[in-house]
Subunit: 649 residues, 2 copies
Amino acid sequence: MMSDVAESESPECLVRFVNNESAVAVARGSTILDAARKAGVFIDSLCGGDGVCGKCRVIVREGKVKGGRAESLTAEEIRQGNVLACETQVDSDLVVEVPVAVSLREQIPEGGRPRRRLYEMATRERQPSKLEPLVRKVHLRVSKPSLENNAADLERLEYALRETLKSDNEYQMGLKVIRTLPDVLRRAEGSVTATVGYRGRLSEITEVTPGDTSARSLGVAVDVGTTTIVAHLVDLAVGQTLESALMYNSQAAYGADVIRRIIWCSSNPGGLGKIHEITVEDINQLIHELEEKFHLSINDIDLVVAVGNTTMMHFLLGINPEWIRREPYCGVTYQPPAFRASEVGLTINARGLLYCLPSVGSFVGADITAGVLATGMNESDDLRMLIDIGTNGEVVIGNREWLVCASASAGPAFEGAGNRDGMRATHGAIDHIRGWSRSRTFGYSTVGDKPPIGLCGTAYVDLLAELLHMGVMDKTGRFDFSNGSSRLRRGPDGTAEYVVVYAGEKGAPRDLVITEDDCSNLIRAKAAIYAAAKLLLRSLGLTFANLKEIMVAGAFGNYLDLENAVLIGLLPDLPAEKLRFAGNTSIAGAKIAMLSCDRYREAQRIAQRMTYFELSTAPSFMEEFSSACFFPHTNIEEFPSVMARFANK
Amino acid sequence: MMSDVAESESPECLVRFVNNESAVAVARGSTILDAARKAGVFIDSLCGGDGVCGKCRVIVREGKVKGGRAESLTAEEIRQGNVLACETQVDSDLVVEVPVAVSLREQIPEGGRPRRRLYEMATRERQPSKLEPLVRKVHLRVSKPSLENNAADLERLEYALRETLKSDNEYQMGLKVIRTLPDVLRRAEGSVTATVGYRGRLSEITEVTPGDTSARSLGVAVDVGTTTIVAHLVDLAVGQTLESALMYNSQAAYGADVIRRIIWCSSNPGGLGKIHEITVEDINQLIHELEEKFHLSINDIDLVVAVGNTTMMHFLLGINPEWIRREPYCGVTYQPPAFRASEVGLTINARGLLYCLPSVGSFVGADITAGVLATGMNESDDLRMLIDIGTNGEVVIGNREWLVCASASAGPAFEGAGNRDGMRATHGAIDHIRGWSRSRTFGYSTVGDKPPIGLCGTAYVDLLAELLHMGVMDKTGRFDFSNGSSRLRRGPDGTAEYVVVYAGEKGAPRDLVITEDDCSNLIRAKAAIYAAAKLLLRSLGLTFANLKEIMVAGAFGNYLDLENAVLIGLLPDLPAEKLRFAGNTSIAGAKIAMLSCDRYREAQRIAQRMTYFELSTAPSFMEEFSSACFFPHTNIEEFPSVMARFANK
């Protein structure tokens, strides 16, 4: 080792990010992306660090770097110091600026893309030793038969597969595929690609095609929410998310919640068939959108992994959920096996497979199993809580020893549905509002930087906090006309409403408002979730203080202002470091399981070992709920930091 | 213990059978059927000893019995001393006569029923600890859901199944069946019957029906021979054969042997589809016959287990066998997984399964695997040989350590096909000929005691021996007109022929003859089989003397006169105790596998460990074959007992 290394040759470099004033030491030669991750600075990186998406551009203000001048940058951008963070190596101490557009992308759920979680998922799953998708394409060289070894075509293929995968799998193959074998093997002179699906103790060879098509293998993860359906297109060959799409669940025409839909289903002839059909149509529409963006044919998609609450899984599969709503609340299956996706009606490869992640029980679905899988709380030594905010709010508490969960009906308010100007987190949705005490108008951002056309869930959390803070809304959620706000008014039907954006502002097509009824929906939603979390803890003899961490998940957009969520009493008043926003853990878990048979089995174990605690029969639930129907809470002592804040005002 | 037991109270009784003059000691209280089995006297017992078929009637000439006067006997029969052997207990020393009709049934392959083997199979498989059919119906009581245990319907069903079967199986279930679950479970209040099919490391629940229908579970074993198709209907609930049916294989229209049919298949557009279709139609016709006899619906039959040579398995499954006939002689699959029988076109329960037993290679099929399984030679310490006489003659040599096999094309002569008055072993077929040296006419029996209309394989063996012995035919298979037999003549086309039965004799509709061409077919068939057996031994450095036993199997009728078979040189000249007729081991093996998942796996292991020896490339095969084209053999020293016999004549 040389002892006279010059300072510029120091093996460690300090990288300072001007955005959050953080600085980290990294080894010389690390990428700026590595440094940003270490510093907790989010940089959008769609491709996960392959240098192809061009989204991770940063500006090097001071210091020396190597590489990073990718084709996707213009000459002007390069002059300004722009580089791609994933391709640029640190070569001295640096000062780096992450342009707002890039760092904000993390927070902008464009098309519902939960960037941060995706990234975590991608890095976790992209280890070659781990990447073992539920359906995967494997390129094989099947030996030619000879007089010495004239084993049959199928047996030679299976031998090649076992050798290639180094496994002792037992294979199953449909007759249709077997019939293609002699031609396919001989046409390609033994160079073929086998598509292999996980079937528990067996594997199914679903297709054999000539040549090496293993690089072209795609899967779709679908989170079938009661209100919103989200689909992610995943490149199975490298374990990476390519794109996402979302839409409202068309089932809403038959009831806002699962119980009403089940009732509709049973009381209308052909009801189950109808609701099954529209569910499948919705998913097919999302799949079609994803296919179009990437110029894919339906044959390119080999699997769908679905999550959602138990009723959604029943609807998707066309299984009667009638008994879910009747005591003793019993579904038909919580651990469905894999099915041929085409049998359900999904328009992917006709031989492709559909996996529904396992549910815990009739009211805790596969989305929660996926959430636990995504957070890894089932392997944690410490006690953690997962709160998943959807049309049903679900709460899970546990660690590697035990897992307990509960569910409470929250309604779709935080998904933007049911509110006057609510919308899902897609282009034109106001997703974040900032205007705290500076003026009586708001600063806000919209998804895709498009003209504002509505508000999504995260905006409502910010807005409620804002209205409370300004005194426009009181702690019961009623508007205070004595406050003097010019934005308060009565709508055509006499309902009190507050104008968030006036027509014409930034291209808004009309006034966007929040009504007192919206506030009422939102207060009940947040109260149900808070009450569920508190009561579940209490039933275990615990309090929020016993938790190492609360992870907040939801399909209602990617970034949630946790401080505002505490202020309105959606989340308990814990120190900031104990609260973590985890994004859409349902879809993340679906993708983790999709990319790893081991993780899929882990999901099955999670569902089996989780204990369900029924809140509806707990006598104190209504009491807890009523106390929580207040901003932040009737018992303000539970929210000391909020109390202090309002006291200071 | 009392020492003064009177003689009539002796715990052992001697039962003497007048038929074969054998006598055995049995415990008092044993049934006559038990005694007959011990004495080696065959008594037809279709029901396997349940007293329901009424076929095992015997006459007690002397001594005391208990029971046995079943309803199926007439008053007159009872007066004559008739009892049912299976229901009658020995109560003193007895003299018993087995009526010819009953003892002969053993030898009469009515409808191809190989009685003795069936019986052995039934006793082997009827042990409750062993009876685990590939598809079985299991009656379950699925617990009702409660608030304490509201596991989903499928999970409660699987739990009940695991408890009932005491297994840790993993189950697979089709979506169609899952969709029926909530109704079926509630309609029957949890008392349901699950149909469970073996799928290797998984089990498939193929159907769930209300109530207990487990007693009504049937399977069909099919031996798809090149020339003859045999089907057996098996009661899976008790492991017992109910009935059999057989027919010629309609594929014969496309060629007499597999190679010609494969060529037809490849050289005619749609050829494979056509030949697949007629194969399935043939089997469906047999299944339909069996169903009609027992007033079954197609839903009662839950599985089909098929055996046959490798090409037949390909045709049955609609898989192209083209590469079987081309060097290096390679099939598409020798170990096909289970398929939905309806996918193949078989008209059984739409959810029923089809299992093809595994083949060894392109020219040694599932029928041989089944034969080894049926004989158990794969578990024997001693070296045994199995000779299966069909359109292809197959020879297996081995023990628990190793198994080697070879195949030789014999032609269908021993299946009655291709000979002028040949026919399969069904009603009206002459099956045995006895007239040895007593007169120049023959005594013969026909299947079902019907008027003679043709000759089946076993009759040809007897007939050739007879003609040789009478000097009507010389050792090359040519007729000797100088012999003076009035039955020798020239047919309309000038071919030499010998009249076996004149028109009108016992109701024969026309003269039944054997021609010199028939003799030529037969001599080549027996020569191919003998040459294969000898050459395979020689290639292992062995001779017939090294064998503990030769088992002769065939679908050509149940009973083969082994002495005559040696005399014509079909079998080697070994002491009688070393030659055993084993019946149709193909169908027996199919049924053994059908009734036991363990045995099915054993069949897979047998197929995997058997080594194929290719005779067609062995230079000395033609030489051996030519030497064997002589009655009994060119080298008469190989047949010392035959030599002695002819010398004494």
